[in-house]
């Protein structure tokens, strides 16, 4: 087979696919054909590159040119200019927001500079639907090494030595979990991959499954070898169709090559993997709830102990790890625990993938070494706050996490530091807020999410969170009282203290952390009747400044509820009892006579 001289990598993640990356591929292929380059250029659809803000993204190799916001019609120009003539298409290059200069390769971008890609090592690099490409990147080598020469205890020791902790939220040491399940006595055991990613805005696991499904399959087989299981189950939400499709392809390819199935690599070890679909309930990310859902029962948690490692799926010992945790395993075994543990901080080793979202310039998926500061993530990788606004807070840990202020910007990110700061690692959602965000509304937003996602089993989560939400709602509606802040704290603490599972135990965190860090803002709402960031409509008033009003009647004519009165050429007046705060008058006024107070 003739080797291709150039590779065109097209991002095939869900985000870029939604922006027509499939059509881009078709367009590339047809132009390449018409230029008779099909023997020289290979077009590959990969997993996510991470820089979703700039998608769809195309990378041209070997010169590593990085094109952003590519449209299907751009393919022709890229082929004819770049592939044929070697001239990069300048207008599609990434422009550094600070220097305004074009940066042709990803290596030169701040977004990528501070990243170390372990879990995402193959995302945006290989064709996830070609097992050969995975094998070429040492794929299944770790599994081969384990089952051909190492005992399960050896492997577990290596994982323990690496210091890897669960990336799903809890941060439980992975090696220890494997060891416990290994020691459980039972004829049948199970390996479960938790792919029920549910944090708002998070898509780490989806991207790994879409971009590098084999790394998860390989890790599950290794885990199966270690704990003594011959069956793996991937619990994935049905609303991840692309990830499911890629997993199906990957499982079939692995089976065809004998890397899953009976007697893998002649070692006598049997392992196969099946998919289980979830209906997209956040609580099913909790491992006992996940197991019940897989069993066909209502997806709700049960009291632990017994832990799944003793009694899990169908009552058998079950090792549950999340996607990102698994994706780290083959690398650790290939490169060694020492290499892995050299990255990160004292008690948090390796890297962490974050889904960066919110009021930040570079929205996307990033992987940074543990110990990277929030400032580096927000300002260097994230490119700072959108539209030059002031940074206010960063929310980590999803709905279970907390909102950290600028005082924590220099905190190195790891499990323990985030907890000490009043938040948590969670599965890796990271949402940045700016000066326009009202922290009471943010707390309300997260609680609304938990409210919808609570399974309803235990009282504090079912009713307590509802009451918390109602109090927050009344504050944003301008009906709050000063004692509400104390009531919020009291109730939050009881909910944390008494809830059955992690969802309820952490659901008040956004409330407590915003009260802790932004109590002034709460006070402004309940004492002064003001929303400092101007988000809570009920606390706003539109007023007409008499001296600026010319009496043009434009506001009067546009007000949908007839709240504005006044004679022509005389100052107008807004009746606050009628005003619905739609803001039309504010937008229409040509004389800046309407003020928001």
């Amino acid at each position: 087979m003739a080797d291709f001289k150039m590779h065109v990598l097209i991002c095939g993640g869900t985000g870029c696919k939604a922006s027509l990356s499939e059509a881009i591929k078709t367009s590339f292929n047809s132009t390449i054909e018409s230029c008779e380059l099909e023997d020289d250029v290979q077009v590959i659809m990969t997993g996510c590159f991470g820089f979703c803000e700039k998608g769809p993204i195309i990378k041209i190799l070997p010169d590593n040119t990085f094109y952003v916001h590519v449209k299907p019609e751009d393919a022709e120009e890229i082929v004819k200019e770049h592939l044929v003539k070697g001239r990069p298409v300048e207008r599609l290059l990434y422009k550094d927001p600070k220097s305004e200069e074009n940066i042709p390769t990803s290596k030169g971008m701040d977004f990528y500079k501070k990243q170390i890609r372990i879990a995402l090592r193959n995302c945006g690099f290989i064709d996830p639907e070609q097992i050969e490409e995975y094998i070429a990147r040492d794929g299944y080598m770790a599994l081969g090494k384990c089952i051909s020469g190492m005992t399960p205890v050896d492997v577990i020791d290596e994982i323990k030595k690496s210091g890897l902790r669960g990336r799903g939220g809890g941060g439980f040491p992975t090696g220890l979990k494997w060891e416990i399940t290994h020691k459980s006595q039972a004829g049948q055991k199970y390996v479960v991959c938790n792919a029920d990613e549910g944090d708002p805005g998070a898509f780490m696991d989806r991207s790994i499954l879409e971009g590098d499904p084999h790394s998860v399959l390989e890790a599950m087989a290794i885990c199966g070898y270690c704990i003594g299981a011959d069956t793996g189950l991937i619990y994935i939400r049905a609303e991840y169709p692309l990830a499911i499709e890629r997993l199906k392809v990957a499982i079939n390819q692995a089976r065809e090559y004998g890397l899953l199935g009976e007697n893998i690599l002649g070692s006598g070890f049997n392992f196969d993997i099946e998919l289980r679909y979830g209906a997209g309930a956040f609580v099913c990310g909790e491992e006992t709830a996940l197991i019940h859902s897989m069993e066909g029962l209502r997806g709700e948690p049960t009291f632990k102990p017994p832990f799944p490692s003793e009694s899990g799926y169908l009552g058998k010992p079950t090792n549950v790890n999340n996607v990102e945790t698994f994706a780290n395993i083959p690398v650790i075994l290939n490169k060694g625990a020492d290499w892995f543990s050299s990255i990160g901080t004292e008690n948090s080793k390796g890297t962490k993938v974050f889904a960066l979202a919110g009021k930040i310039n570079n929205v996307g998926l990033i992987e940074v070494p543990m110990g990277t500061t929030l400032r580096e993530v927000v300002y260097d990788i994230g490119g700072g706050i959108k539209d030059g606004k002031e940074f206010k807070s960063v929310q980590t840990g999803g709905p279970s996490g907390g909102c950290l202020t600028k005082d924590f910007l220099d905190t190195p990110i790891d499990y323990d530091n985030l907890v000490a700061a009043g938040s948590m690692m969670g599965s890796g959602g990271m949402i940045v807020m700016d000066e326009d965000d009202c922290m009471v509304s943010i707390a309300k937003f997260y609680l609304e999410f938990t409210l919808e996602e609570s399974c309803g089993k235990c009282t504090p989560c079912r009713i307590g969170n509802k009451r918390l939400y109602e109090i927050l709602d009344s504050i944003t509606e301008g009906k709050g009282k000063e004692e509400d802040i104390e009531r919020l704290k009291m109730l939050s603490n009881v909910i944390k203290d008494t809830s059955l599972c992690g969802l309820g135990q952490s659901s008040p965190n956004p409330v407590l952390s915003t009260i802790h860090n932004f109590e002034d803002e709460y006070k402004a709402h309940v004492v002064d009747g003001k929303c400092p960031s101007g988000q809570c409509k009920a606390l706003l008033q539109y007023v007409i400044e008499e001296d600026k009003c010319t009496g043009c009647t434009l506001c009067f004519r546009n007000c949908p509820v007839g709240a504005i009165t006044g004679e022509r050429r005389a100052p107008h007046f807004i009746d606050q009892s009628l005003c619905i705060k739609c803001g039309v008058c504010y937008e229409k006024c040509k004389f800046d006579a309407i003020e928001l107070v």
């Binding site: 309930a281 209502r298 709700e300 049960t302 009291f303 102990p305 409210l451 919808e452 996602e453 609570s454 399974c455 309803g456 089993k457 235990c458 009282t459 504090p460 989560c461 079912r462 009713i463 307590g464 969170n465 509802k466 009451r467 109602e470 109090i471 009531r487 009291m490 109730l491 009881v494 944390k496 203290d497 008494t498 809830s499 059955l500 135990q505």
Partner: protein, 582 residues
């Protein structure tokens, strides 16, 4: 044994038990709401959902639910620290904040575990108010669901799914909207609900109650043109006293009769009489099937299954419609009574069936449904007009200003009030088959039974079996109470693995004494066991203890029916079953 500290007191408790059990063993009662355990009956509800039983364990990050946290060496537990009390009260306040404030008019008032809890915790104010869940009320022929009052304890769900394997009730929706309901919020009467009433029996609040028919009974009693006949089931006399503060297991047969007479019933009869009649029919049917089977008749189906229990009948009609020929065709005692009352007895009185109102007092809510079945009506007039529960009778007694405890003992009326011990034991698991054995043995062998107490058929085990020697012929008998246990036996039959000749099935754990219409046991299995002892005591007290010796039964056959399984008996005392799969 392990050492730990509970409320500052060092104690030694068994290993492997929960904090709740450990506390209880040293005299500390931790309040619970969702938790329920019927000792020795293999029934436990432990979802850990209500969070009322939380206690503080030193060194633990959060509070521990006592009902599902296992004790560990050196644990330092405080059940009433300010943190635990505050949390417990807040949790109950939260439940109350989503509960209708209907206590004054709620059917469960005075018998409600939530009400008790709020009282015991001294809750005088609900600090967190807000939206309340509202659902439509669902009324079926037997059970009313007012699920605004559901507190998600899941006891009913556990009974319906795990114990009864009926699978109608389960939690639906999520978060604040979650509630226990049939699938798709369909009505109970569209579901495969058997109306066994075990959900009602365990509901801590007024979310699940029986359909109240006391009003109809009062109306009938006050109608001068009606002759109102009442029958009372065997299990009622062993439990009614509890409603009036008497010790569980107190037999109140005489007071019961007296109360019914004072309420104005024209004739106070006994369902036990009809139970004797059932034995005559069912026992004869068993013998006839058995003799044909032993004679090599391949058409004959064995085992024969009892058919006294209406929930059980509805269960197999839904779940095992391909096995409709296996159960006995004999009607239940309630329906045999109604049928005889409105024919034989009406004739004796010289009245038309329309002039008679037959009321039954039952430990059961499914009986309300049973008496409404079309096959038990003649020209739209039901054989039994109204079936009320033990609890409803207690309400009527209170309404009629009767001081139950002070009532004298009175006797049932004749002719339908005479019964044998065999009829009495119908009220407990194992009783129907024991009664049948007493008669079938003598009819088959022509000899007197050497002993009447078949201990091998008695007990509380969910599934029991025994072989009775019918003078050289070993008869294999199976007993199941609880529909989940019944399902196991039916699946064996389906698989062709059953070796039984006869099987007794009762839907409720313990049999009718544990019925859904009985006074609430509030999770105390002792109550049910004491009722059982009372039933066997009543049997012992009887002079006649074999159904076929009941002189009024003999007379009934002589005067009216001919002989068991006669055409007339078939017409009046037997029934058929329907495929309700779809």
């Amino acid at each position: 044994m392990i050492n730990l500290t509970i409320d500052n007191k060092p104690v030694v408790v068994k290993k492997g038990i929960t904090i709740l059990e450990a506390a209880s063993s040293v005299g500390v009662h931790i309040p619970t709401l969702c938790y329920m355990k019927l000792d020795d009956m293999n029934i436990e509800n432990k979802p850990g959902g209500c969070r009322v039983c939380v206690v503080e364990v030193k060194g633990r990050r959060n509070l521990a639910p006592a009902c599902c946290t296992e004790v560990a060496e050196g644990m330092d537990i405080s059940t009433h620290s300010i943190r635990a009390i505050n949390a417990r009260r807040t949790v109950v306040e939260l439940i109350l904040s989503d509960h209708p404030p209907d206590c004054l008019v709620c059917a469960k008032s005075g018998d409600c575990e939530l009400q008790d809890m709020a009282h015991n915790l001294g809750i005088r104010e609900i600090h967190y108010k807000g939206e309340q869940s509202t659902y439509r009320e669902d009324t079926s022929p037997a059970i009313t669901r007012e699920i605004d009052k559901c507190i998600m304890c899941r006891r009913c769900e556990m009974m319906c799914n795990e114990v009864q394997t009926v699978g109608v009730l389960s939690a639906i929706n999520r978060g604040f909207d979650s509630v226990v309901s049939p699938a798709f919020e369909m009505n109970l009467d569209h579901s495969v609900c058997t109306y066994c009433g075990q959900c009602v029996a365990v509901c801590p609040t007024g979310a699940l109650t029986e359909v109240d028919e006391t009003g109809k009974v009062i109306k009938a009693l006050s109608d001068p043109n009606k002759t109102v006949v009442v029958q009372t089931a065997p299990a009622v006399r062993a439990a009614l006293g509890e409603e009036f503060g008497m010790e569980a297991g107190t037999l109140v047969t005489g007071k019961l009769v007296s109360a019914l007479k004072r309420l104005g019933f024209d004739y106070v009869f006994d369902t036990d009489f009809a139970a004797d009649l059932t034995i005559m029919e069912e026992g004869t049917e068993l013998l006839s099937r058995l003799e044909k089977f032993l004679g090599g008749d391949k058409e004959v189906k064995l085992p024969i299954l009892t058919s006294c229990c209406p929930a059980w009948v509805k269960f197999f009609e839904h779940q095992f419609p391909e096995m409709l020929e296996i159960p006995s065709t004999a009607r239940s005692p309630q329906q045999m009574f109604g049928s005889i009352a409105k024919t034989y007895f009406a004739e004796k009185l010289g009245k038309k069936r329309d002039d008679l109102v037959v009321v039954s007092i039952m430990p059961c809510v499914a009986k309300k449904y049973e008496c409404g079945r079309d096959e038990f009506k003649v020209d739209d007039n039901p054989d039994v007009d109204h079936a009320i529960t033990t609890r409803e009778l207690a309400a009527l007694v209170k309404l009629a200003n009767i001081e139950f405890e002070k009532l004298p003992n009175e006797d049932f009326d004749h002719p339908l009030g005479e019964s044998t011990g065999a009829g009495v034991i119908f009220g407990t698991t194992g009783g129907v088959i024991e009664a049948a054995v007493r008669t079938a043995y003598e009819l088959h062998t022509g000899k007197d039974l050497p002993r009447l107490d078949f201990e091998e058929l008695r007990g509380m085990e969910g599934l029991r079996q025994a072989t009775i020697d019918f003078n050289g012929l070993p008869i294999k008998i199976g007993i199941a109470h609880g529909l989940g246990n019944a399902r196991k036996l039916l699946e064996e039959i389906q698989a062709g693995k059953s070796e039984f000749h006869a099987i007794e099935i009762m839907s409720c754990p313990g049999g009718c004494i544990g019925g859904g219409g009985q006074p609430y046991h509030h999770g105390d299995a002792e109550v049910i066991k004491k009722r059982q002892m009372a039933i066997y005591q009543e049997d012992k007290n009887k002079v006649l203890r074999k159904s076929h010796e009941n002189p009024y039964i003999i007379k009934l056959y002589e005067e009216f029916l001919g002989k068991p399984m006669s055409e007339k008996a078939h017409h009046l005392l037997h029934t058929k079953y329907f495929d309700r799969k779809n």
